[in-house]
């Protein structure tokens, strides 16, 4: 019974809760129990809010019993990346500097989840300040990939992805600045969506890179992701960059796609994302996925986006620059930890000592790169040039979307790599986001959907689907159609191949 509940999709759970086949409290408890069993091995959660979750579940049960109208995901448990503020519940952003901070307010995403009756189980682990591609940069220890606990679950949202793959939650929220939803989705065999920039409010999302950050849904199925997308998306006056337009009809598109017909859909394969640096098994999985799209009726063409080669360097200038400014507020004056205040040191000294002790090496590295890139004398060559590359990347997308409906590529060049393998080589780590970054720079929608397992190591591979801004529904349709065909071809959903976690009874 309990295993049944933790393996169900969000859509199934919502239906069963609404029909009163099962109570939201039972569902929440099943997931809390599962977390208790497996999270010691996975470390997906930084904080589990048992009491808050059970209270929220109880409230949903009461509402349903009273005949109240509840949302399509009411009572479904969800794991929230620890980068979104939660009133009264700790928010650390995976950093020591915010250890013990309890926000006095909810992020807009948090508020919308609560209003829709979702049951927030807790806060998930992440690379510190979302800087990383492996979740090894968390100040609270790495998260482990449920497919192989010696490997990384991707990052920065490794906790949110691992929680899904470990069946600790059917839904989670991630944030994606350069691939932090999609790349973990790819390496854990789950679905991760970066909506159009401005589609989901950033209010209460602790900023890494303001012009790139975007929160989005993570799930085990495309439909579940779409259902969650519609809960969290939409205009928010608290975020000036939020788009005041209707939410793209992603749920309808996912249902349409599930019919398995993609005739009339033009799919572009980005030629830049293959070749050297790509794991052969990843490329083979990608090619098989493209073949499957053709079988579904899609018209597939190759599309060249030459400036995408410059996306990675542009990203590693823009993101650190904005981060160097965004993270300046962590100064030991108003919140967070304070180090070295012995009554003799100045505020400036205490700030420097606190930031030195509170930030990990990757955060410090990026703050210094950003400080450098924005300095007078270097601004034009670095930050200014990166902003121009951004223009070129948008132009490449515009040109591509003039001829195709969606673009596809592998989500990330390799499968999950072993923990520790790239920690001393920042550039190697950065390459994990090679394919995902262009969509952040241009602001359009992109997602990762599992494309099976790599034949050489048996680890999950992700198919990235990209759509124009505010056309998020296009990629949901393609992803849902592909998901059905893939499961039919494999004989089972990819996620069902997650091995039993060591030392844990199924």
């Amino acid at each position: 019974m309990t295993a049944d509940l933790t393996r169900a999709t969000a859509a199934e759970l919502a239906a069963r809760i609404a029909n009163r086949e099962v109570s939201a409290v039972e569902v929440a408890q099943a997931h809390l129990d599962r977390i208790g069993e497996v999270d010691g091995a996975v470390n997906a959660f930084l904080h589990v809010d048992t009491e808050g979750a059970l209270n929220a579940a109880r409230k949903v049960d009461e509402d349903i019993a009273a005949g109240a109208h509840v949302g399509p995901l009411a009572g479904v448990p969800i794991a929230l990346k620890d980068v979104l503020t939660t009133e009264g519940v700790p928010t650390t952003v995976g950093s020591k500097i915010l250890e013990g901070w309890i926000p006095p307010y909810d992020a807009t995403v948090t508020r919308r989840l609560k209003e829709a009756g979702l049951v927030i189980l807790g806060k998930t682990n992440m690379d510190e300040f979302a800087m990383g591609s492996s979740t090894e940069n968390s100040a609270y220890g790495p998260t482990r990939n449920p497919w192989d606990t010696d490997r990384i679950p991707g990052g920065s949202g490794g906790g949110s992805a691992a929680a899904l793959a470990a069946f600790e939650a059917p839904l989670s929220i991630g944030t994606d600045t350069g691939g932090s939803i999609r790349q973990p989705g790819a390496v854990t065999g789950t679905v991760g969506v970066k909506p159009t920039y401005g589609g989901v409010s950033r209010y209460g999302l602790v900023a890494f890179s303001s012009s790139l950050d975007q929160a989005g849904p993570c799930a085990r199925t495309v439909l579940d992701a779409a259902l969650l997308h519609e809960v969290i998306a939409g205009y928010d006056p608290m975020d000036s960059t939020s788009i005041d337009a209707p939410v793209p009809p992603v749920v309808a598109a996912a249902r349409e796609g599930a019919n398995g017909d993609l005739s009339g859909v033009r799919v572009g394969v980005v030629t830049q994302f293959s070749g050297e640096g790509y794991q052969p098994g990843v490329l083979r999985s990608f090619e098989a996925a493209v073949a499957q799209l053709k079988q579904l009726g899609a018209e597939v063409v190759e599309v060249s986006c030459p400036s995408f080669d410059y996306a990675l360097p542009a990203y590693y200038l823009i993101a650190p620059s904005e981060a160097s400014s965004n993270l300046a507020r962590f100064d030991a004056m108003r919140y967070g930890i304070r180090v070295g205040d012995d009554g003799t040191r100045s505020a400036e000294e205490v700030m420097s000592l606190t930031r030195e002790a509170g930030f990990g090496p990757e955060v410090k590295r990026r703050i210094m790169i950003g400080t450098y890139a924005l300095s007078s004398g270097y601004y034009d060559a670095y930050y200014g040039s990166a902003q121009k590359v951004r223009t070129l990347i948008s132009r490449d997308f515009d040109a591509a979307f003039a001829t195709v409906d969606v673009l596809v590529s592998p989500t990330t060049p390799t499968t999950a790599f072993p923990i520790g393998e790239r920690t001393n080589d920042p550039m190697a780590m950065y390459k994990a986001d090679l394919c995902t970054i262009p969509a952040n720079l241009a602001g359009n929608a992109a997602m990762s959907v599992p494309s099976g397992l790599s034949d050489e190591d048996g680890l999950p591979v992700g198919l990235q689907i990209m759509a124009p801004a505010l056309q998020d529904h296009r990629m949901y349709r393609v992803a849902a159609a592909y998901e059905v065909a893939r499961d039919a071809a494999l004989g089972a959903p990819v996620i069902s191949g997650v091995p039993q976690l060591a030392g844990v009874a199924r």
């Binding site: 979104l84 503020t85 928010t91 952003v93 915010l98 901070w101 926000p103 006095p104 307010y105 992020a107 950033r202 209010y203 209460g204 999302l205 602790v206 900023a207 890179s209 303001s210 012009s211 006056p237 608290m238 975020d239 000036s240 960059t241 620059s321 904005e322 160097s324 400014s325 300046a328 507020r329 962590f330 100064d331 004056m333 108003r334 919140y335 009554g343 505020a347 400036e348 700030m351 400080t371 924005l374 300095s375 007078s376 601004y379 930050y383």
Partner: protein, 500 residues
């Protein structure tokens, strides 16, 4: 603690150097809410009660721009004859300081909302001086720190500081002049006249409280000197903390004499921030930084650009009130004032007050006589601004009416006004309380006249001989006897009648 400065005689400064000024004025807008959040924008609340995640710079919080502040910025720009940007942005000015919650100030950098304007200011002799405006841009204010420990509550020697962020995020407009040249000896006067004119303008626009004492109008004065034969500007200093109109003038003058003495003795001016000390009238060096601050400006990604449509700008132009100089021109024509009369009126800062008094029923001559001649002196004596004297135009108009109806003499009227200024209430209440009614009963006056004539028989004889001028002594005696509450004109008439 101030260091001792060598100062050059002012006349010599002018003989040897040309001053160049640059004035930066920060104006706090009196919008209902702060620049980027919905916290109330009011002065003087309990510490940290007008704060929220946004203005405390809490993780995750985002700014949302106050449209009213943008509107005010455009109106100020238009009133300063500026061009209004078709497209502009906010930028982040990055530097660490504990009174700034995000450790960057959201400000405008190379894309100000208004630029390239001018303000014509009236100098003491009535002449106009045009001050060119470089830009007016939007930004946010910082919090306030209280320094604890140490001798004087100043930052130096303090043991720790206490921060109140109520003011953090209050909308500011920074108005920057182009270099002001060609003032010669009048540089300090031009500086004061400019800030005065700007204050009057902002008041007329109703965008700010413009209270220098509360910091809602703050001036930084950049001063440099050019030797008479020089072709380039000299090194400038920036004097902060100049918090009254008089201080603006004093600070500029002090810097001129200090810099001149230093230059004359072969020294060099350090480009630095200096602080003005009201008590000594001198400036002192702030902390000099070993390297120039690098603010690492970049476009604020959390706010979208502002592109005011031309229709909106013209609509806002239509909301501009009659501006101070337009009103002056109109008043001069309507009241047929000479240039000298207008200058006195303007210098006294009494245009609004006199106009309001006229609106309340007085003639402009009466109103000017009260405000410009009498109340200006009272204000000086009490060390306050004319407008803050504590008497309203309506009250003055009522006092004037009482004089015209003969119920008060001019002398009594002044006593009534003194009572009002001393906080004794409305003019009528002062009259009642102090018993200040004109003695208009002829029989009472006749009795006093007879007594005075009897007391001074030789004077009485002179008057009877036709020496009417001698009546003054008797008038004086009668006024004394009636404690000044008689109408002197009537008393004189009664004396002449009695002696003829």
């Amino acid at each position: 603690m101030t260091s001792v400065h060598e100062l050059m005689d002012y006349a010599e400064v002018i003989e040897r150097f040309d001053p160049v000024l640059g004035l930066e004025v920060h104006v706090e807008l009196h919008t209902n809410t702060k620049m980027f959040c919905g916290c109330a924008n009011v002065f003087g609340g309990e510490p940290n009660t007008q704060v929220c995640p946004v203005c405390l710079g809490m993780p995750g919080a985002l700014p949302a721009l106050n449209g009213k502040a943008v509107e005010s910025a455009i109106r100020i720009g238009l009133a300063l004859n500026c061009e209004i940007a078709e497209w502009c942005r906010f930028a982040r000015k990055n530097y660490f300081y504990p009174d700034m919650p995000k450790n960057f100030q959201t400000s405008q950098y190379d894309e100000p909302i208004a630029f390239n304007g001018y303000l014509d200011v009236t100098l003491d002799d009535g002449s106009l001086f045009r001050v060119e405006i470089e830009r007016a841009h939007m930004e946010e204010d910082t919090g306030k720190s209280l320094h604890v420990g140490g001798a004087t509550g100043r930052i130096h020697g303090a043991e720790h500081s206490l921060l109140d962020y109520n003011r953090a995020g209050v909308p500011l407009i920074e108005i920057v002049t182009k270099p002001i040249t060609g003032t010669g000896e009048r540089a300090p006067e031009v500086a004061r006249a400019y800030v005065t004119a700007l204050r009057d303008l902002l008041k007329a626009l109703d965008v700010s409280d413009v209270r220098m004492d509360q910091g809602s109008l703050r001036c930084d004065a950049n001063v440099s000197l050019m030797a008479k034969d020089a072709t380039e500007f000299g090194t400038r200093t920036e004097t902060k903390n100049v918090n009254s109109l008089r201080s603006v003038e004093r600070a500029v003058r002090f810097e001129m004499t200090r810099q001149a003495a230093l230059l004359a003795s072969g020294g060099e001016i350090t480009q630095e921030t200096r602080h003005f000390d009201e008590s000594t009238g001198s400036t002192s060096s702030g902390r000099t930084k070993e390297t120039a601050e690098d603010y690492r400006y970049f476009p604020e990604p959390d706010l979208v650009p502002i592109a005011p449509s031309r229709e909106w700008v013209e609509e806002l132009r239509g909301t501009l009130p009659e501006l101070p100089w337009e009103r002056r021109k109109r008043v001069q024509q309507e009241w047929s004032l000479t240039d000298a009369e207008l200058r006195d009126l303007v210098n006294a800062g009494a245009v609004d007050l006199v106009t309001a008094t006229v609106d309340a029923g007085a003639t402009h001559a009466e109103a000017r006589s009260w405000w410009v001649a009498y109340l200006t002196k009272e204000a000086n004596a009490r060390g306050v601004e004319l407008a803050e004297l504590g008497i309203t135009p309506a009250q003055i108009a009522r006092v004037i009416a009482l004089v015209n109806s003969g119920e008060l003499t001019n002398k009594l009227a002044r006593e009534v006004v003194t009572g009002v200024l001393d906080g004794e209430g409305e003019p009528e209440a002062v009259i009642e309380a102090r018993g200040l009614k004109v003695v208009s009963d002829d029989s009472a006056l006749e009795k006093a006249v007879d007594e005075a004539l009897a007391a001074q028989p030789d004077v009485a004889a002179k008057i009877r001989d036709g020496k009417v001028a001698a009546a003054g002594a008797i008038v004086g005696a009668v006024m004394k006897a009636t404690k000044g509450q008689a109408d002197a004109k009537r008393v004189r008439e009664l004396i002449i009648a009695r002696c003829s």
